[in-house]
């Protein structure tokens, strides 16, 4: 019902007051957001954790087996030397990009609606980059030697890393991206950690006082079982309080700190904006700097960045629509937020569609027979079904978002977002495998199909992602309270 308020706002001039439904006060925000942290997790949460934990376990088993046996357990051959693994890597890195778009780029563009989703979207970025980073590590075959990518003085010469290699650029880009995202997220979290700490301290004191009176009042309470449970609960909450004590760094709401905090937040946003563009540009150069037909094009960096934000926005929609229902934050993530994200999806879908068309045209116009045959193979070759899944999910289905009715139906938005997730995974798979399987020499053409180990590893990465996200929903405020309160202030 409250969504009707936001619906009216979409039709009207989008006043700031409509950002949060239900005319909240700052104290309401604290209460609503912390409720999820105080309450016992729901059955649905446990079910989700069980499923994602099992998927993660499956992935751990698959990767352990692969490490013990070797990457011969994968379906790769000497023609298709890159397939599932790098597809998953590019897919997950792309997912992460929407989080930084929301936290940094929309911050610089002063889009106030971002405050409801930025915390969760940034968490999504962190977990997606974690999943992405695992794949190159696994692909090394000997992940314990991963530190060889660092340029450190060594006993082999010193033999330095090859700074001209896009794979080394990738190493620098991904590690910087993860570090900056983590730091940005933590800085944004600081004031909220202090809020939780102070809430816990207050309720702890109330608890202690209450127990104190019980102890004196022997006549009414002489129940040891009650005392024991109270002790266990307070023991757990004391540990939790100590953790929040440390993590909040003694934040006390001082404006001298806030004053610096704002500057730091702005600087990090200004640094993260070009960073996020650089990361997927560099990922695209893993392909574009090779001579393989279908990879060797200058359109790759903008094409990959747009695709990344597109897929990430879809994943944000998927997660947010689930979170708003299960975490009871419907008042904070309203029809207006979903509408804004759908608009971003349709914009980036358009860019991605344009890139598909440009690729085909460039291949045709180049007059280069290798380039032309690579694209003919992509559209009608053995993996044509994958190509059309990609076009259908990424270009055709999102066109439904032009209809306001579709953008307002959360079920429709959810289903479309799932289609886009699938489509964007296929985009990477098609770019990588269809280009490799038909190279310059027809005698070395081959086909590729994934093994059970590769599929289990992909499922495992989803397990890791959702396990982390569910734990995040349980232990960290999903909504940036301090930022929401600042936006409320404008409305009242």
């Amino acid at each position: 019902m409250r969504d009707a308020v936001a619906d009216a706002a979409i039709a009207g001039g989008l006043p700031v007051a409509s950002l949060i439904a239900g005319n909240k006060s700052p104290a309401d925000v604290t209460r609503d957001v912390c409720r999820a942290l105080d309450a016992k997790p729901s059955g649905l949460w446990w079910l989700g954790l069980g499923l994602s934990g099992s998927a993660l376990l499956l992935g751990v088993v698959a990767v352990s087996y692969q490490m013990a046996t070797g990457i011969g357990t994968w379906g790769l051959n000497s023609t298709v030397g890159w397939a599932f693994d790098i597809t998953n890597f590019v897919f997950w890195i792309g997912i992460g990009h929407a989080g930084t778009l929301i936290s940094a780029i929309l911050f610089l563009l002063r889009q106030r609606w971002r405050t409801s989703v930025n915390r969760a979207a940034e968490a999504m970025t962190l977990f997606a980059v974690m999943c992405a980073g695992l794949f190159p590590l696994i692909h090394m075959g000997r992940p314990w030697l991963a530190f060889w990518m660092l340029p450190y003085p060594n006993t082999r010469g010193s033999l330095w890393i090859n700074f001209r290699s896009p794979l080394i650029w990738d190493f620098f880009a991904i590690s910087t991206y993860f570090t900056i995202s983590a730091v940005f997220w933590y800085i944004g979290l600081l004031p909220d950690l202090a809020t939780i700490r102070d809430r816990m301290r207050a309720s702890h004191e109330t608890d202690r006082n209450a127990r104190g009176t019980d102890a004196h009042d022997n006549t009414t309470y002489d129940n040891t079982a009650y005392d024991n449970t109270a002790y266990v609960v307070s023991g757990f909450s004391r540990t939790r309080m100590r953790i929040f004590d440390w993590l909040s760094l003694g934040w006390n709401g001082s404006y001298r700190t806030w004053h610096r905090y704002e500057v730091v937040y702005l600087l990090l946003a200004a640094l993260a904006t070009p960073l996020v563009l650089s990361v997927h540009s560099i990922v695209s150069m893993d392909f574009a700097t090779a001579l393989v037909p279908g990879w060797h094009t200058t359109i790759f960096p903008p094409y990959f960045v747009a695709g990344a934000i597109f897929s990430g926005m879809a994943m944000v929609l998927t997660l947010m629509l689930v979170a708003r229902k299960t975490m009871r934050i419907e008042d904070y993530i309203t029809a207006r937020h979903v509408d804004a994200m759908c608009r971003l999806v349709i914009l980036t879908s358009g860019i991605v569609g344009l890139a598909y068309a440009t690729e085909l045209f460039t291949a045709f116009y180049s007059g280069n027979q290798y380039e032309q045959s690579a694209f003919v193979n992509r559209v009608v070759g053995p993996l044509a079904w994958g190509y059309w899944v990609m076009v259908g999910c990424n270009v055709l289905v999102p066109q439904l978002f032009w209809f306001a009715g579709v953008r307002r139906s959360f079920l429709m938005v959810f289903i479309i977002s799932l289609f886009i997730n699938v489509g964007m995974w296929f985009e990477r798979f098609i770019i990588i495998v269809s280009s490799l399987e038909r190279g310059f020499l027809p005698s070395s053409w081959a086909s590729y199909s994934p093994t059970s180990i590769e599929i289990a590893t992909l499922i495992g990465s989803f397990g890791l992602f959702f396990t982390c996200f569910l734990l995040f929903c349980r232990f960290v405020p999903v909504i940036a309270m301090a930022e929401i309160k600042a936006v409320l202030g404008k409305a009242r």
Partner: protein, 179 residues
């Protein structure tokens, strides 16, 4: 002897803003202001100078970029030059990605470390500094702390000044509890 502070607690950010501006006009010593979120315009009301953190960010970013750029030149053309596909020793365009990333990494992380250090945020301060948590400044209240400084300080007049801005309460505390 420890100094005392008078704290006005407010429920609305406009009241806090006006009270802070009025206290500054009166020439009172504003020890600090506490709020659950960033109140825009409060830095002007308090008369805070712009932060120097952008300089830290700029210099560390510059250091990161030049450091890694020189390092790349040194490793590829001096330390152990290796011919990779006939590419020149000085492959400047290929050195740009790592240079950019190190600029962002050092600039970003360095700024955050400088922020934590300069703002005096220390995890172990929690126990010795209970802050003004009991007043709800990390929840929904705003507090203006004025120090009792100088012979001209008139306790009653400051209380009267704060009362003009609809405070929820006015309290006296020792300065250690605040700063």
């Amino acid at each position: 002897m420890s100094r005392r502070v008078i704290i006005g607690v407010f429920e609305r950010e406009e009241d806090l803003l006006h009270a802070t501006a009025a206290a500054r006009d009166e020439g009172l010593d504003i020890v600090d202001v506490f709020s659950p979120y960033v109140v825009h315009g409060l830095d002007r009301a308090m008369g805070l100078r712009p932060s120097r953190l952008p300089w830290v960010c700029f210099l560390l970013g510059l250091l990161g970029a030049t450091g890694i750029l020189l390092f790349q030149f040194w490793t590829t053309s001096v330390g152990w030059p290796i011919n990779v596909g006939g590419k020149p020793w000085n492959s400047l365009p290929a050195f740009i990605p790592a240079t950019f990333e190190m600029m962002v990494l050092l600039g970003g992380v360095g700024t955050v470390v400088a922020f934590i250090w300069s703002a005096g945020l220390r995890p172990w301060h929690n126990r010795s500094r209970p802050a003004l948590a009991d007043l709800g400044v990390t929840d929904d209240r705003f507090a203006l702390a004025i120090g009792e400084t100088g012979v001209a300080f008139d306790h009653a007049r400051v209380r009267a000044l704060l009362s003009r801005f609809r405070p929820a309460s006015i309290e006296d505390r020792a300065e250690e509890e605040v700063a």
